[in-house]
């Protein structure tokens, strides 16, 4: 079979060389009116093809995109994204039309003369000022939203969680009842103290270390990120959240979960996506998939970068309270 394949490739290469030498023997090099007419037509064909794949992708691949934001802060992201996307979509369709239509319309001909048209201040003013005005709007909304997301200075009763990264796993630490994380440093890493928590710090005692995130719906979560070796990035696409984990410093991010995992699974977009995924998985004989929020590593960090993940479960407040009450504190786990 493989031999046949190579023979086929050999024949294909042979034929193409034969064709290439044949074409080269024509020795045509400068476009004449016939070429212009032909290439102008091709420009239109290409435009049709291009519009077809643009529209096809917009419709057919619309369903693979992330479902609506699962965090309250992300709602504005989605809105801003939609505004921007419509805007650039419209501009794209108009500009590409002009480019390829003009290529066809003004294809060269011996009998035609080009218009001598070197300048128009009016036109240039229009296409300087119009983008400027549109951008003011986009920048304004964008900056407002950026402040909205990044400002963690005055949070009322947030849940403080440290997300801790290392090649190639995630861990997390809840601040516990005192709502303050104990200090941490790589020098304290020893035995089961894998996150390097300073156990002489009194804030550390009630901290809770876990390997999966549980978050209550509707409460602001204040994340702090640390890394013990290389750069990682905590990417939580469903919440429109991402922050790098940088060795030697603590970075922060915050959001408020809007839907529990269970609610998200019932959402029509998610259900449709799950169904499609399961069709693929069933065909391959793999176990069926159920939607879960995930935290992915999104900064190249080594060989297993592509498989560095942590499950996030969003639950109602009562369930969260029950869950957290069952988790042992660090003081009880790490006995010196």
């Amino acid at each position: 079979m493989l031999a046949l394949f190579y023979i086929f490739i050999g024949v294909a290469i042979g034929v193409s060389f034969w064709q290439i030498t044949r074409i080269l023997n024509f020795r045509g090099d400068i476009a004449n009116d016939k070429d212009n007419a032909k290439q102008g037509k091709y420009a239109i064909y290409f435009m049709v093809f291009f519009y077809a794949i643009m529209i096809y992708c917009l419709i057919a691949l619309n369903v693979v995109m992330l479902p609506e934001s699962a965090s309250i802060e992300g709602e504005h992201d989605d809105r801003l994204f939609n505004i921007t996307f419509w805007l650039i979509g419209i501009v794209q369709f108009i500009m590409q039309f002009l480019i390829f239509y003009f290529t066809f319309k003004y294809r060269g001909n011996k009998n035609n003369k080009a218009k001598f048209y070197a300048d128009s201040h009016q036109l240039e003013l229009i296409w300087t000022v119009t983008p400027a005005i549109v951008l003011v709007g986009l920048i304004g909304y964008g900056l407002w939203q950026w402040n909205n997301v990044m400002d963690l200075s005055e949070l009322e009763d947030p849940i403080v969680i440290e997300v801790y990264s290392q090649q190639f796993r995630w861990d997390a630490r809840y601040a516990g009842e005192d709502k303050t994380l104990g200090l941490g440093n790589v020098n304290y890493i020893k035995g089961i103290n894998t996150m390097g928590v300073d156990m002489s710090d009194k804030n550390s005692q009630d901290d809770i270390q876990v390997t999966e995130l549980y978050l209550p719906k509707g409460r602001k979560i204040h994340f702090k990120f640390r890394s013990q070796d290389v750069l990682h990035s905590a990417y939580m696409p469903h919440f429109r959240a991402q922050m790098n984990c940088v060795p030697g410093m603590v970075t922060e991010f915050g959001f408020t979960p809007k839907y529990t995992t269970e609610e998200m699974r019932q959402q029509s977009e998610v259900r449709a996506k799950t169904k499609r995924i399961n069709k693929v998985r069933a065909a391959k004989g793999e176990e069926l998939y159920e939607f879960d929020y995930l935290l992915l590593c999104n900064k190249i960090c080594g060989a297993s970068h592509y498989n560095m993940q942590m499950k996030i479960t969003v639950v109602e407040q009562e369930e969260y309270d029950k869950w957290i009450a069952k988790q042992p504190t660090l003081a009880s786990v790490i006995k010196e």
């Binding site: 300087t128 990044m150 790589v186 410093m249």
Partner: protein
């Protein structure tokens, strides 16, 4: 520079040549060789992405110890994307593009006998050659080449414990890049000095062709930003080899705490992107300059808004040096900085829009000669618009959080700087091939090359936006570990097929290029009826470019289809033909344009 005849041997003519025309060819051929490696690598890793962990004999044949039964190892996947990025950005699109056309065109279009310093020019090429050799050698070290991504963020790039490629492979990468930067700086200084000092009589700055403006400004950005990358690389070398802690701090790896204290990887990110972002324009501006020239010539129309084009090049260049932080919105830097960088980044859309509109207006009511060079230029405008528009999404920090480092970014920058710059380079090659080799390239093959390439370029990168919007991170060896991405498998297969066809289609170009060098029809002196003065030199290359005196310039470069009555499109051409060489004196009563 001197007009007396040198005694030339094979070595001084073809190897250690100081003639800018020969050096430009050397840059082009070396760049093409590196390009073949870079594109081939992308085809290999696209195989893995479409058919994860499937065995391919081609992978087995090429990746040696870095594959198991025809499946590449995850380390090698990262190495391939790293080297693909490095080679394409620096070796093909910086040296291959700028080096080729700046060298070829600067003396010819401003009317100089050669570069200001032929010797430095030669050194610039040979440093580039050495750095290419070192980069290629790094592919063969035992633990594999550098694999921390082309951005080589430490600590990953600093610690061999973190990834094997960060050992000897990374050392060679850094050495190669240091030599490369030296080459680029020497070249850029030469370009700047030449354009400032060696313009022929009458070639005022305001009469320079737009190619010259683009190369000139590109060289300035290069001189401003490349030294910063050199210092970043030097500090990284210190951290790696001499135990300093510029970028490293508090690291626990392979069961031990390392001694590094007080450094920050964020510092490296700042230094890297202070070059890294201007680099995008170092790649793109020459391509835009080439396109301006070609669209005007082949439309038989003056470029629309010459002054606006020059000013937008300058505005883009200026802004490019104050937007680097948009690569770092989520790096942990102060969010206020994020706001500033969002603002400056989105401002770049304005000069970019001006350029795109001006190109389209140049096409309007033209008499388009659809040669392959022209088609590639039109293709450039198309991909530049497509890729540029998504920049509005990524430049907005609030939106960037959700799609940073996903395939959306990959699609964006490949279209706006990768495909666009490559198209500019192809356009330049098709257009100036007669000037380089004195022969013509075949147009039929050029048409095949163009249409297959643009269809494949969009076939690869348009769908890629959507897998990015599905949240798929870049630089994943495979996405099989995440069932949530299972529905993207088909799209990945389609992308790979387009990528393979597009990659193989470049063979058409290579065949056309190399066969035409020997068998193409002999070129006439001015095959495209162009205005610029490189077409007044003889077809056969001579030292000093012009026999006798250097011509004097009397007008700008864009008097195409100038009429007797400027307000009447039906009136006759003022000079009896639809082009007027820059060397033609103004007629009595003719208004300079």
């Amino acid at each position: 520079m001197s007009e007396h005849h040198h005694k030339e041997t094979f070595v001084t003519k073809y190897i250690f040549s100081q003639d800018h025309k020969m050096i430009s060819k050397q840059f082009l051929i070396t760049g093409m060789f590196m390009g073949i490696i870079g594109v081939f690598m992308s085809m290999l890793f696209r195989l893995q992405l479409a058919w994860p962990e499937k065995s391919f004999s081609i992978i087995e044949a090429f990746l040696g110890p870095h594959q198991t039964d025809g499946v590449m190892n995850p380390d090698m996947y990262l190495a391939l994307v790293t080297i693909h990025g490095t080679i394409m950005v620096f070796f093909v699109l910086t040296a291959g593009l700028s080096g080729t056309f700046s060298n070829l065109l600067i003396p010819l279009q401003i009317g100089a006998r050669d570069m200001a310093s032929g010797f430095l020019n030669m050194i610039s090429y040979w440093l580039f050659f050495i750095s290419s050799v070192v980069m290629v050698i790094s592919l063969f070290v035992e633990a594999g080449p550098a694999s921390a991504g082309w951005t080589i963020y430490p600590p990953l790039s600093a610690l061999p414990q973190a990834i094997p490629g960060s050992g000897t492979g990374m050392t060679l990468w850094l050495v190669s890049m240091a030599i490369f930067i030296a080459s680029s700086l020497i070249g850029s200084l030469n370009y700047i000095v030449t354009i400032f000092n060696l313009r022929t009589k009458g070639m005022k700055m305001t009469r320079l062709p737009l190619t010259m403006w683009a190369f000139f400004i590109t060289a300035i950005i290069g001189v401003v930003s490349f030294p910063v990358l050199l210092s970043a690389a030097l500090l990284l070398i210190f951290d790696r080899s001499f135990g300093t802690s510029f970028y490293l701090s508090d690291i626990f790896i392979s069961g031990e705490v390392l001694h590094y204290q007080g450094g920050s990887p964020v510092l490296f990110e700042h230094l890297f992107w202070f070059l890294g972002h201007p680099e995008v324009y170092i790649v793109l501006l020459p391509a835009l300059g080439i396109t301006s020239e070609i669209i005007s010539t082949h439309s038989r129309k003056p470029i629309f808004g010459y002054r606006a084009m020059v000013m937008s090049i300058m505005a883009i260049a200026f802004l490019s040096t104050i937007v680097w932080g948009h690569h770092m919105f989520i790096s942990g830097m102060n969010p206020f900085l994020g706001s500033v960088f969002t603002f400056t980044t989105l401002l770049i859309a304005i000069p970019s829009a001006v350029k795109a509109f001006n190109y389209i207006t140049t096409l309007w009511k033209g008499n388009l000669q659809l040669n392959p060079a022209m088609l590639f230029s039109i293709g450039l405008v198309s991909t530049f618009v497509t890729g540029g528009l998504t920049g509005l999404v990524l430049g907005d920090s609030a939106l960037d959080i959700a799609i940073h480092d996903t395939y959306f970014v990959v699609a964006h920058f490949h279209l706006v700087m990768g495909v666009s710059a490559i198209f500019g380079m192809y356009a330049g090659i098709y257009h100036w091939f007669p000037k380089m080799y004195g022969r013509m390239m075949n147009k039929t093959l050029g048409y095949w090359h163009f249409w297959i390439t643009i269809v494949c370029a969009y076939g690869v990168f348009w769908p890629m936006h959507f897998i990015g919007l599905a949240g798929l991170p870049r630089r994943y060896y495979s996405n099989t570990a995440f069932p949530m991405f299972d529905d993207l498998a088909d799209v990945n297969v389609v992308i790979t097929i387009f990528a393979l066809v597009g990659g193989l289609a470049q063979i058409i170009f290579l065949a056309n290029f190399f066969i035409s060098i020997y068998r193409g029809r002999k070129a006439t002196q001015n095959p495209w009826n162009s205005n610029t003065i490189e077409w007044t030199t003889p077809v056969e290359h001579i030292h000093g470019n012009w026999p006798g005196k250097i011509p004097e310039v009397h007008r700008w470069a864009y008097d195409y289809s100038k009429r007797v009555d400027p307000n009447d499109d039906d009136s006759d051409y003022l000079h009896g033909q639809d082009f007027v060489l820059q060397t033609t004196p103004l007629l009595d009563g003719e208004e300079p344009s």
